[in-house]
Amino acid sequence: MALYRNGTFVTDAWSFPPDNAPLPAAGAVALTKARFLAERDALRDRTAPVGVVLVAGDTLDGLVDDLPNLALVAIRFPKYSDGRPYSLARLLRDRHGFAGEVRATGDVLRDQVALMLRAGFDALEVTHPGTIAALRQNNIVAVRHHYQPASAEASETRPGPRPWRRVSAALS
């Protein structure tokens, strides 16, 4: 497994304790939505960053007020053809102004990387060897001209004349 964030592979500082395991005393932890909601009050006392793990099918209901206190929302793709995480990521970024890390996990493959980045994911947890290799070698062929504003507005340019056009930089 490898974590790709903002263009490079980095080491992952987060831990993902299972629902029934005690939390480590220190360090960044990301919990399922159910556990986070159940232990929300106790978690406020932690100084280390806290995150939430969503799976496709989860909603943001009940989480919105906590988003400013979260440093990570990880969203799991059970299979890459399940498109719900894209909408969740966009809602996090556009609707709720979430500024922390939005991480794609699960079935993350090279052919969807460009879509994920446009939908607001800034980190990808990759297990697929071909995808890891392609990202390392900067060898992902993708379309960079887009016909719709999405959730990567800060990193995309807006060529005239049509207001909905965007161009993203090459992956790197």
Partner: protein
Amino acid sequence: MYRYDEFDQTFVQERVAEFRDQVARRLSGELTEDQFKPLRLMNGVYLQLHAYMLRIAIPYGTLSSRQLRLLASIARDHDKGYGHFTTRQNLQFNWIALREVPDILDKLASVEMHAIQTSGNCIRNVTADHFAGAAADEVADPRPYAEILRQWSSLHPEFTFLPRKFKLAVTGAAHDRAAIQTHDIGLQVKRDETGALGFAVFVGGGQGRTPMVAKQIRDFLPEEDLLAYCEAVLRVYNLEGRRDNKYKARIKILVHETGEQAFAQAVEAEFAALKGKTLTLPADEVDRIGAYFASPAFASLPGRSDVLDRAVANDPDFARFASRNLHPHKATGYGIVTVSLKPVGTPPGDATAAQMDAVADIAAHYSFDEIRVSHEQNLVLPHVRLDDVPAVFAALRNAGLATPNAGLVTDIISCPGLDYCALATARSIPIAERLTERFADLDRQHDIGDLKIKISGCINACGHHHVGHIGILGLERRGEEFYQITLGGSGDEICTIGEIVGRGFSSGEIVDAVETVIDTYLGLRTSPQENFLAAYRRVGEAPFREALYAAAG
């Protein structure tokens, strides 16, 4: 017509490069067929019974002669010399080699065409009234909106992996020639009381195994909100649509299970958050796109044409053609000509490379270089001078394209069925061919009048049988093909799902059964002006059921 600028051209070329890379990984074995399948489907490549099929997008059914000539050359160089125009205004090639697809896509890109999103669980090619910009009854040309939607939906990062495919259609006239109420989203361009342009929005129509007529969830959506509203509908669908069962995954099921009102509320809530932001369409940008679709420079002509009148008087063949295949145009002295791809005994919608070239030549000479593809699997010459119609007729006849049967019993829609399709339960093209042979007599066809027969080779309903005046569904039981008849369906503004009349018929019986239905109609119509659908709506299915099943007891 819309023309690509540098941005559009770069976009399609980048997409070809991306797909070329994917094909190379498949051919090298890095991708298995299972992994490759969703990727190829995103670009219109199907694996059929005998070969790969490539479906090419013809956005809102509009083609220039240059584009049609290129399609002809692909038919010659990469297929068996013909192509198949579909009910979604696309063109399919049925005999394609996978390794040649990237090169075909490069050729398409050279004439501003592509195969993007012609299949897969994404937003498909946007369709529109095939008489758009020419019809006498139009409020506004729907194509600028269809083009704006095409752009917005192209490789949309959020909506590429929907629960199921998603189809949009736009009409600019109250009389619906685009069957918008059978689509996931149907849009009817209209004006409000102040004269401002906008849309009535219909959601949740569809055919397939659970046919449903779309529900109107907005009476008037202002023009500037088109994209924000569609994004809201798609987001609700993407998040809430069922993914547990592919037969229940279309938006029609979500609308049905959520309830029309609750669904509309969810969309309105999402829309309220999207409205007035980046997706708002500035009026000058709509105008800028609209300018590409400006009317050609029509000459000012008298409303009657002596040349046409004389030809009608002197040539019975031409008179027949003019009575069916010539339609009113918004500009005086012009007409719209339907080019029938339904001659007797051939697969509906097929055209040879030579025929495509012929139509391209005729369009270049006589129709301001424009051709349309209709969802009824015919071609259309949208802007022909009435004076030129006899010459167009002669040229079409030379190419075997002057069948005077638009809207008649032999103008049949049929899906590919078991001759090509891996999902089929029965053959459909041979039934269509035998029906056209049975009703080949033109006097009889013209006497029968308006009649839409639609045939599907399985419950997926690609041949629209649910909305055929007479629908035929091919099924299979214990290794035998049999055919179920539905009556009274209609895909226009009074959208109706046809009713099953009774048990099905064998392949040997089905043509007789259709003839019985038609003879029954002829016997009970009040006058030749009462067409089949009107008569059926008046009398219901009883007389037809009686005629079909009485003899059998």
